[in-house]
């Protein structure tokens, strides 16, 4: 049954059929499939209109810009002359920072996004349990959603004088104060255990504030999935002699695993689009202070491609590894 269903939804719309679907007065128009198709199109109509009106033109423009040599002219906007892939070559081979920062950020993202998912899942499981002060704990874990959004994260560090002071005070703290993770790292290095794995681990520990701050939405999404699991499943498992550990892997994990994909995609995008992301900084720099519009468009398209690649990879991995209970 489910196999057949899958097949029918995968069936492609032929060109002729899709045109006939919207023209009344033929047998295809009157079929159930066409009726449903028309309803579906009506439902997504807002998106279609929005995309065509607001999104398509700027997108195409920016893509054309990335293939052109763009010069600002006084009074008359831009002049564009086609120059093929020169801008892309510039991004990869000439720009001193772009390459290096892209590699760095992608590496950081790979580690941080996995850490964020694991962290938010663990926290959601804990918050889903019954204990005193649960409402308070949930409210506190919602704070990152607010604090990491919009104007708030940058506002205090954008103050130039403050940054200066911050730099000085950090230096002092590093030279005199106790930095526990650094001390531990030194200790491990002395005892001959400072391998690559530990480096990653320490990187995560140092970034734990960032990770928690980035996992606000993910916690809520997981939490909503967890609380939708019917308690009778656990009761049945308990009666059958299932331990809590087994129940976690056989019930909890499979039931929320569809949400893994949503969260993973959200985490990746969130990381790629953060204002303090150094690739974004570079793109803005090239655009607004050097006025190299063509080059910066090329950079953002490369960046976009990398993000898309990552989303594709994680979608394939997760949807292969996750059982779907929904169909």
């Amino acid at each position: 049954m489910s196999n057949r269903k899958k097949k029918s939804s995968r069936e492609r719309w032929g060109l002729g059929e899709s045109i006939l679907t919207f023209i009344p007065g033929n047998s295809t128009y009157n079929s159930m499939r066409s009726r449903n198709a028309r309803h579906g199109v009506l439902f997504i109509l807002p998106l279609i209109i929005g995309f065509l009106v607001f999104m398509a033109r700027p997108l195409v423009q920016s893509f054309i810009m990335s293939l052109c040599d763009v010069k600002m002219q006084v009074g008359s906007g831009f002049s564009m002359t086609f120059n093929g892939l020169t801008n892309y070559r510039y991004a990869f081979t000439v720009d001193p920072y772009f390459n290096q920062r892209l590699v760095e950020e992608v590496g950081r993202m790979a580690i941080n996004s996995i850490a964020t998912i694991v962290m938010s899942f663990v926290i959601a499981v804990i918050l889903n349990q019954d204990f005193k002060g649960r409402t308070l704990a949930r409210a506190i874990f919602f704070l990152p959603v607010i604090l990491a959004s919009g104007v708030l994260p940058g506002i205090e560090s954008q103050n130039e004088f403050y940054n200066m002071m911050q730099g000085i005070s950090e230096e002092i703290a590093n030279s005199s104060g106790v930095n526990l993770s650094a001390a531990l790292q030194d200790l491990l290095a002395v005892s001959g255990m400072g391998s690559g794995v530990f480096d990653i681990l320490f990187q995560m520990i140092d970034a734990i504030y960032d990770i928690v701050m980035a996992s606000g939405i993910q916690i809520i999404v997981f939490l909503s999935g967890l609380s939708a699991i019917s308690p009778s499943l656990y009761e049945a498992a308990d009666v059958e002699g299932c331990t809590a550990w087994e129940a976690f892997w056989k019930i909890t994990f499979p039931m929320v695993s569809p949400l893994l994909l949503v969260n993973m995609i959200y985490t990746i995008i969130d990381f790629f689009m953060k204002n303090d992301n150094r690739v974004m900084e570079r793109i803005n720099e090239v655009m607004y202070s050097q006025f190299r519009f063509g080059e910066s468009s090329a950079m953002s398209w490369i960046y976009f491609g990398v993000a898309l690649l990552f989303i594709g990879i994680s979608t394939v991995i997760i949807s292969k590894g996750v059982q779907h209970y929904e169909d």
Partner: protein
Amino acid sequence: MKTEKSSFREKNKRAGGYLLRANLKKWTISIVRGLLLFGLCFMIIQPMLTRLCTSLMEEKDLYDSTIVLLPRNVTLDNFRIVFDLTDFPRSMLNTIWTSFLVSIFQVASSTLVAYGFARYDFPLKRFWFGCVIAIIIIPPQTIATALYMNFASFDVFGIITAIRGSGLNLHGSIVPYVLMSATCMGLKNGLYIYMLRQYFRGIPKSLEEAAFVDGCSTLHTFWRIMLPDAMPTVLSCFLFSFVWQWTDLFYTRNFLSSMSIYSNQLSTIVSRMSRYFSSNSDVPVIVPVGRQQQLISIGVLICCIPLIILYVFTQRTFVESIAMSGSKE
């Protein structure tokens, strides 16, 4: 007391040590959980607490190195200053109604689109879903300039020009942004579509089939059956949308710059400080960094507090009611 203790021992003995083990396990779990939660919560809340403490300090307390957290001279004067600096009642009211309006449009359109994607099969479906992913991923900054120029003489494929002779100038009004929200192009709209679609796909198809057999029309099915079931997810999307709109700077700066919106006021608060303080004393004043930071922190606090209150009141409906409506097969 003693009898109770012995009875526990006796019970434990009779159960072969099971009772003791179970109790120990329970206690260990709750202690570990408590420690973990306390640590993480403290980490999140500590900057807020610091802000709250410094916000109550008088200016001279800021420079007193013997004062770390607790203010010696408590004052609420700082709040008054920040209220003046951010044009408080007006900017807050504007923020409230614009956030409300925009998020309602965003969530309504996203819900419709998500339902269409979850349940219907139509030509070019994959292409349109690719567009949804694209609007999630593409940073609004990349299209901002082009959009801005677009709205200087707004037009839909030359239709408006044909009617009025020229494009509409929509700069400085809320209309373009509402239009964008209503057509799923607002702030993080693709994400809501994605989340809601995921939820709609989880609702058993048999519900709609039953409705169809009973002669329920498509819209009616959506309105009466699917929407009530999806309400918790819709609500959480609404909450996200509201919060993000509330703190958003990018769209606010581009589309609502003529209005006094709190996030915009907050982002430019530093530039207005020296003018504000010098107008009081007729002498140009350079506001010290510490004082600037203090006032910014207060601004951040004022921005967060309404949202936290909103969350505390709505979290029961949108996190916990999902369990009630769960009709998973």
